[in-house]
């Protein structure tokens, strides 16, 4: 126990925790949306994220962007990275739905079978990127100077952290509004609530499920590019640990609940950093899981309860 370091590290931990947590939250949305609609843990979602980080890195290397940019070049490079990351993740998510889920759905396979096929797809994706990019970390270039904007306590608020949190919040609000207000969102909620009745009311289930994967993929893509900005390196198995944490975040907040994913992500991010400063960094994951178990004991369906269907406008 290092309570002293917890006190001295409180503000830096909080800032880092919120930064990390907002990435987890975006990542968790993919788990939550798919679970809400299909009642299924999308185990390959960590690979959706991985492909996003890889795509963003690939376009930077392809265009030989490796130094600090400024002005329009910076905005262009960031947008390009984000675009490729979202595109890569979304394409992966759609392909997964087509190849690993839809055929099983058609045959009325059990949820366990879907889980195994997702694990299989995740093996395939990892191996493809391992063979193609080697098993070493590849670097994502630092595109802008991480200069300090202001201080909170002993914590320095740097530009990259501000960018990450702001981008994450914007995307999250956009998604929340999409699900709450648009026709597509109403379809998603209808399928989540009662698939049978939704079909009878004229909702196209296949298309709704496809869009659900698409939305989850786009969110994972944003999370991926933000991850690149924060940690500046990626590898074929980069998705695994953040994937577990993001899934934990979704469960903690109440799986299937969009606001729950946000809350869960932030809590997991904070817990990880606080846990590291109190117990030492080797125990950061343990802290997260112990708290998860404790929370689930007292609130068995997550903090905000599980319901995509009831996410009303």
């Amino acid at each position: 126990m290092h309570l002293h370091s917890f006190v001295t590290q409180f503000w830096p931990s909080t800032v880092d925790g919120v930064t990390l947590g907002s990435i987890y939250a975006l990542f968790a949305l993919g788990y939550t949306l798919v679970y809400g609609v299909l009642k299924l843990i999308n185990f390959a979602h960590s690979e959706v994220f991985m492909v996003g980080t890889m795509s963003a890195m690939w376009i930077m290397h392809f265009l030989n962007i490796s130094a600090i940019q400024s002005g329009f070049a910076l905005v262009g490079a960031l947008l390009l990275a984000a675009l490729f990351s979202m595109g890569g993740s979304a394409a992966t998510a759609l392909a997964l739905e087509r190849v690993a889920y839809r055929p099983l759905r058609r045959r009325g396979a059990s949820r366990l079978a879907a889980l195994i096929s997702a694990i299989g797809a995740s093996f395939v994706l990892q191996q493809v990127f391992e063979v193609y990019y080697s098993n070493q970390y590849s670097n994502f270039p630092r595109l802008f100077k991480h200069s300090t904007l202001f201080n909170i306590g002993s914590a320095q608020i740097t530009t990259d952290r501000v960018l990450i949190v702001v981008a994450a919040v914007v995307m999250m609000v956009a998604l929340e509004r999409t699900v709450a207000l648009t026709k597509l969102g109403r379809g998603i909620r209808a399928v989540a609530q009662d698939p049978e009745t939704a079909t009878l009311m004229g909702v196209n289930i296949d298309r709704t499920i496809m869009y659900t994967f698409l939305l989850g993929g786009i969110m994972a893509g944003v999370a991926a590019v933000l991850w690149n900005v924060r940690f500046e390196q990626t590898r074929f198995d980069i998705g695994f640990l953040p994937g577990i944490k993001a899934f934990t975040a979704a469960v903690l907040g109440g799986i299937g609940n969009i606001r729950g994913a946000l809350l869960g992500g932030l809590i997991i991010g904070l817990l990880e950093l606080y846990g590291a400063s109190v117990f030492g960094s080797q125990w950061r994951d343990t802290t997260v899981f112990v708290v998860l178990v404790l929370v689930l004991l007292f609130r068995p369906s997550g903090l905000l309860g599980e319901s995509l269907a009831r996410a009303r406008a």
């Binding site: 679970y35 609609v37 299909l38 009642k39 299924l40 843990i41 190849v99 690993a100 889920y101 055929p103 099983l104 759905r105 058609r106 045959r107 009325g108 396979a109 059990s110 949820r111 366990l112 079978a113 879907a114 889980l115 195994i116 096929s117 694990i119 299989g120 797809a121 995740s122 093996f123 395939v124 994706l125 990892q126 191996q127 493809v128 063979v131 399928v191 989540a192 698939p195 049978e196 079909t199 289930i205 499920i209 577990i244 899934f247 934990t248 469960v251 799986i255 080797q282 125990w283 994951d285 343990t286 997260v288 899981f289 112990v290 998860l292 178990v293 689930l296 004991l297 068995p300 369906s301």
Partner: protein, 369 residues
């Protein structure tokens, strides 16, 4: 619903035909059959001729012990949790690790005899199953999955970071089991692999026997009831929580059992041998083979453990092909290679045993018409 009742008719399907055929034979033929099976498993399977086909690049009896034998045992244990009681456990490797570390620590620090540690490891694993299960088994489905996954990670970090487990370096010079008499098939040494195969074979037979007795008992029927519809089971007076806890502890104890054997053969263990990947692979064994059906689970474990050993030359693409095979198998045979009769009947009915939310629609609409 007709297919389900058909499927549940006594001795239907392939397994039933085999059993009926078996019961119709005179006793001496049955004895001969048992002897033949014994011969095939004890002499034929680990022989050099088979080895040339099955594992040209490695020691076949050793492969038969680990990964094949160990995976079969682990899959049988996990099958109790996943296949019988219908709970998704993603941290099963934790119990394997408990058994392995029990063997390593008790043998090197306390100098206990292997045969004393076997029950000790089982009890420790069962106890950790109870400790984990008691608070968490009230959770349902996917929440349980994430909690067990978390538990696996916690155990992993604990053995990596606690002093007395040796940290990432692990524990070395774990003793082999003591020799039994002077027969060479009971002499446990390094490079002397066949005795270990016989040891694990005996363990597999024991576990299969015990679990099949359990399956046909009140406990087994309670598990089926819980798996099919927990609320209905509870309403019918089945103490679901207690039976789920039973299933969890029994599954855990089989994991611990395997861990003890594994550690005593490897003589060196470290946290890298008990990763999340093992939990996933064992789950794959269970579902691939046909969850809930022991011959299926054994076949699944054999395939999952053996294929990577056989195709060592293709190291780079091994996992790629494995992944493709998994997806393809689940698309074309979602009920597993050798499904249980009940599962098959459900699939024929299009009910798929509580599928993925929206997945049920076409099937259930058909049923309604």
């Amino acid at each position: 619903m007709t297919a389900i009742s058909r499927g549940m008719a006594p001795l239907g399907g392939f397994g039933g035909r085999v059993r009926r055929f078996w019961r119709a034979q005179p006793p001496f033929l049955q004895l001969l059959g048992v002897l033949l099976l014994f011969f095939a498993l004890a002499i034929l399977l680990p022989s050099a001729a088979v080895a040339k086909v099955m594992a040209p690049q490695s020691s076949w009896p050793l492969v038969l012990f680990y990964p094949i034998g160990c995976y079969v045992l682990l899959a049988l244990g996990l099958n109790v949790v996943v296949g019988e009681a219908g709970m998704l456990d993603l941290g099963y490797v934790a119990f394997f690790a408990v058994g392995g570390y029990a063997m390593a620590l008790l043998a090197t620090k306390q100098h206990w005899n292997f045969w004393v540690i076997v029950p000790g490891g089982i009890i420790l694993a069962a106890a950790s199953g109870l400790i984990l299960g008691a608070p968490t088994l009230r959770l349902r489905g996917d929440y349980l999955a994430i909690v067990t996954l978390g538990f696996g990670q916690i155990i992993d970090q604990a053995v990596n970071n606690v002093g007395w487990t040796g940290g990432p370096q692990g524990i070395s010079s774990i003793p082999h089991p003591p020799d039994i008499g002077h027969l060479s098939i009971f002499t446990y040494q390094i490079g002397h692999d066949r005795p270990y195969y016989y040891l694990i074979l005996a363990a597999i037979f024991l576990v299969v026997f015990l679990i099949s007795r359990l399956k046909n008992s009140r406990v087994g029927r309670a598990w089926v009831a819980i798996r099919e519809d927990e609320d209905a089971a509870e309403l019918m007076g089945v103490p679901t929580y207690r039976f789920r806890l039973w299933a969890f502890a029994i599954g855990a104890s089989v994991g611990g059992f395997t861990g003890v054997f594994f550690a005593s053969q490897q003589i060196f263990i470290n946290p890298g041998q008990f990763t999340y990947a093992i939990s996933v692979l064992i789950l794959v064994c269970v579902v691939l083979g046909g969850s809930g059906n022991m011959p299926g689970v054994i076949l699944g474990a054999f395939v999952v453990a053996w294929l990577p050993e056989r195709f060592r030359g293709f190291d780079k693409y091994k996992i790629l092909f494995f992944g493709i095979a998994l997806v393809a198998l689940m698309i074309f045979r979602p009920e597993g290679l050798l499904p249980s009769r009940r599962k098959k009947a459900e699939m024929a009915d299009g009910a798929g045993g509580g599928g993925m939310g929206a997945a049920l629609i076409p099937a259930s609409l058909e049923v309604d018409q």
